[in-house]
């Protein structure tokens, strides 16, 4: 609470500062990290995405400064003076070629590098031992389904999704009976987790900024290519980022990244607690 108060005071101070055109730089030093720029990355591979972001940031920043300096210089230097006339010019094909070729080369290079990240980091096969968690989005929340001791989720099909079977579990599959549901996305640190993403009504978003991950959950299909390795213990928040109705802004779910031991403890508790009728557990169970 105290922290909130002091933050509020600082915000008011900052706002006041803006109006008298000072105070912004003074305030900057007091902020905790991640408040001015990206939230600290908490997943493996996330740093690579950040590196690329920084690269584009510096590249575009440099080009922007350069072009603006030239631009402003021209504006000042060639302002109208009495008795001076503009110099006629028709253009210069060589210059055109240069400033077409350079951006083209940069863009294609950027594209090539980003493909490497996209295909080899984000969309490559996850490492062996990756845990599977089914995530089902609904108006307005998320529920999670974990595999039982076999380590495998039972068969499911989006066509089977119904109000009393929100994950579309195939109940004829014996493995399904071991699955259990949770209202919290509990994850062991440094271990891969693959998401099987479904929605039971409209399109939702599966967005975790700290993990640099976002994928829409689309009704009618199971999206199975999202995986990540959280590498920092902590509490995070899963947020919906695709407009889904009046509760959109409040559609969230807690994420707990914990040590392997803590996770095992939680997992055992969950299994013991929901053994008899796991598949019938209500989706909203917290």
């Amino acid at each position: 609470m105290n922290q909130f108060l002091s933050r509020k005071i600082r915000m008011i101070a900052l706002l006041a500062g803006v109006f008298v055109a000072l105070g912004v730089p003074a305030d900057a030093a007091q902020r905790t990290s991640g408040l001015w720029w990206m939230p600290d990355v908490a997943s493996k591979g996330g740093e690579q995405i950040d590196q690329l972001t920084y690269f584009i940031y510096y590249l575009t920043g440099a080009v922007f400064l350069l072009t603006q300096v030239v631009y402003v210089y021209f504006l000042i230097k060639y302002r109208a003076k009495k008795g001076m006339r503009a110099t006629y010019s028709h253009g210069d094909n060589r210059l055109e070629l240069v400033w077409t070729a350079i951006p083209t080369a940069i863009f294609i290079g950027l594209w090539g590098y980003s493909n490497h990240l996209w295909l080899d980091v984000i969309h490559k096969e996850p490492p062996p031992g990756t845990m599977q968690v089914a995530v089902n989005a609904y108006q307005f929340g998320f529920s999670f389904q974990y595999p039982g001791p076999s380590g495998k989720l039972g068969r499911s099909d989006v066509k089977l999704i119904s109000p009393d079977n929100v994950f579309g579990n195939d109940r004829t599959d014996p493995v399904t009976k071991e699955d259990f549901q949770s209202g919290v996305l509990e994850l062991p640190v440094d271990k891969g987790v693959r998401i099987l993403l479904t929605s039971r009504d409209v399109i939702h978003g599966f967005y975790i900024p700290q993990f640099r991950i976002y994928q829409d959950a689309v009704p009618g299909r199971t999206i199975d290519w999202v995986w990540f390795i959280p590498n920092k213990v902590g509490s995070y928040e899963l947020a919906c980022s695709q407009l889904c109705g009046s509760g959109h802004y409040n559609m969230k779910a807690p994420i707990e990244v914990v040590s392997q031991e803590e996770f095992d403890k939680w997992y055992k508790q969950k299994i013991a607690g929901s053994a008899p009728s796991s598949t019938n557990a209500s989706a909203q169970s917290k």
Partner: protein
């Protein structure tokens, strides 16, 4: 009467009779004069702009506090939908083409009117009818789907007036198509003698490129919204998986229109800026043909990049790769334009009048908007900022920092021609600067908000985002001032402004050769183009070469 006397007689009658002379309601509502139709559009879009901007003002006020204390979540959703729908379809798309384009295209071509003057008036009536439906949908309760109408939320789940709003947009689309068609035919058929394609003004080139997109893309929107409404009303399964449809199909179809629509909104702005830069640096636009063809390149490539709105939609991973490539490509013609505008200034004779200030602002802000587009075209980076405030900031830098700045610049530049009177220059300059500052304060913090991870369309938000939201709201109030002031002093200038004369800027072009305001038939005698476009005075040692 001998012919010479006849001409003199005609001259006398025209000197006193401009297109504004007859001021009856009937003469306005039944006019086929392209200049009057342009003004009818101007009045109409000012109304839509005011409504849509008020919605944004309420949103910004609501976001002053993290809990969103001012309005309820559902109201908030309706506000941003209203803001988006009205701004996109009822302000930005008709802004430069239908107002300035209508007014100027025949003048720039040396024609008496558009090719189909009655069709032009009809397209305004269609636009007003469509806008009326949209406003009615707002009055009876509004729509909460966002301007993107994503299915199945829009087609099945939303309890608001989606079908009615879609009908409004559908109807207004015909106005776009007819205007586009009219402009294309006019540019082909009504050019003055000597006015070859490569002597055309760059504004005409950009209108031509825009019209091509209007004609080709708008039918796809009409079709998509029809399918969505059919699904909503009669449960025809197209997009809702529960009815056997596919929600992604809607996104593909919607963005196949709506990405080109982004270029409908920016290309005419680029055309205006080319005019302003040339006129106020007294120079021919550097690399004329490159600037002209880059407009066509943007129009063409704009049709091939719709998938970059869908990188995280679960479209194929490889489709993402291709759309990323094409999105980088579409940035090249824009970069070429910016370089050429900068080079035009080189050894020019630059005067910083109000329209030029807007043009300068345009170039800086458009560059930021374009460059932040590179973050979004880069697949892995887009994932982090997709559907956050980063995207909001990005497209507002293009749409408001770009298009609206260009529109204001163009309006000030041609205002003497439209009204026959000058606006107060000092006030104009101050307003341009206020708009620029207010704009940046409004939208720059939103880039940071996006990076911090604040999703768009949130009625309330975590406490740590408040400072940027407060800054943004403060900026919006300054920006608002920048829009209210011109409304006041431009109206004032109609009565009290000093008479402008034919060519107050000393600019080149047919429209500056006729009187201000022009006579109904535009020119006393049909003009003939004898030189290239922007043939500003050249040192006698340098010959003009074509």
């Amino acid at each position: 009467m001998p012919p010479v006397l006849q001409i003199i007689d005609l001259k006398d009658s025209q000197a006193t009779r401009s297109y504004l002379t007859k001021q009856t309601l009937r003469s306005w509502l039944l006019t086929t004069d392209h200049k009057r139709v342009g003004l009818l559009y101007l009045y109409t879009i000012i109304v839509f702009f005011a409504v849509a901007a008020s919605a944004a003002a309420v949103m910004r006020l609501n976001l002053l506090t993290p809990r969103g204390d001012l309005v309820q979540a559902e109201t908030y959703n309706k506000l941003f939908t209203m803001h988006g729908v009205l701004m996109v379809w009822f302000f930005l798309i008709p802004s430069i083409p239908s107002v300035l384009g209508n007014f100027l295209l025949p003048l720039m071509l040396g024609a008496r009117d558009l090719a189909f003057p009655k069709l032009n008036l009809l397209s305004w009536y269609i636009f007003v009818f469509g806008g009326g439906i949209a406003l009615y949908a707002l009055l009876i309760g509004g729509v909460d789907t966002g301007w993107t109408f994503y299915t199945p939320y829009s087609s099945t789940y939303s309890n608001s007036h989606v079908a009615l709003m879609a009908a409004g947009v559908f109807v207004a689309g015909f106005s776009s198509i007819l205007t586009g068609l009219n402009f294309i035919v006019t540019t082909h058929k009504l050019r003055a003698p000597g006015l070859t394609w490569f002597r055309l003004r760059l504004f005409v080139w950009s209108l031509y490129a825009t019209s091509v997109i209007l004609v080709l893309a708008t039918p796809v929107l009409a079709m998509t919204l029809t399918l969505m409404a059919l699904e909503r009303i009669w449960k025809v399964g197209v997009f809702d998986p529960a009815l056997g449809g596919d929600p992604l199909l809607f996104q593909h179809l919607f963005w196949f229109y709506s990405h080109p629509a982004v270029y409908i909104m920016i290309l005419p702005g680029m055309g205006v800026v080319s005019e302003l830069i040339a006129a106020f640096s007294r120079k021919r636009v550097f690399g004329y043909t490159f600037v002209a063809f880059s407009s066509l390149a943007i129009a063409l490539l704009g049709f091939l990049v719709w998938g970059h709105h869908m990188f995280v939609s679960s479209q194929s991973v490889f489709a993402g790769v291709i759309f990323s490539f094409l999105s980088f490509l579409v940035a090249i013609p824009s970069a070429i334009k910016v370089f050429n505008w900068t080079a035009t200034l080189y050894r020019g004779s630059i005067s910083l009048d109000t329209p030029m200030l807007y043009a300068i602002g345009f170039i800086g802000l458009f560059t930021i908007g374009g460059m932040t587009g590179l973050f979004l075209a880069t697949l892995a980076v887009d994932v982090h900022v997709h559907d956050t405030y980063f995207v909001i900031a990005h497209f507002h830098y293009i749409m408001v920092g770009g298009m609206v700045m260009a529109f204001m610049g163009g309006l000030h530049f041609w205002w003497p021609k439209i009204s026959g009177r000058m606006y107060p220059e000092l006030l104009g300059k101050m307003t341009a600067i206020v708009t620029f500052l207010g704009f940046n304060l409004t939208f720059f913090p939103q880039f940071i908000l996006g990076y911090l991870g604040m999703p768009r369309r949130y009625h309330a938000y975590p406490e740590q985002f408040q400072v940027y939201n407060v800054l943004s709201t403060a900026g919006a109030s300054i920006l608002g001032l920048g829009y209210v002031l011109p409304l006041c002093y431009l109206i004032w200038s109609c009565c009290y402004g000093k008479p402008a004369g034919n060519n107050p800027w000393g600019a080149k072009g047919f429209e500056w050769e006729t009187t201000s305001p022009p006579p109904s038939e535009n020119f006393e005698k049909p003009p003939v183009q004898t030189e290239e476009a922007y043939a500003y005075p050249v040192p006698s040692s340098e010959p003009i070469t074509e």
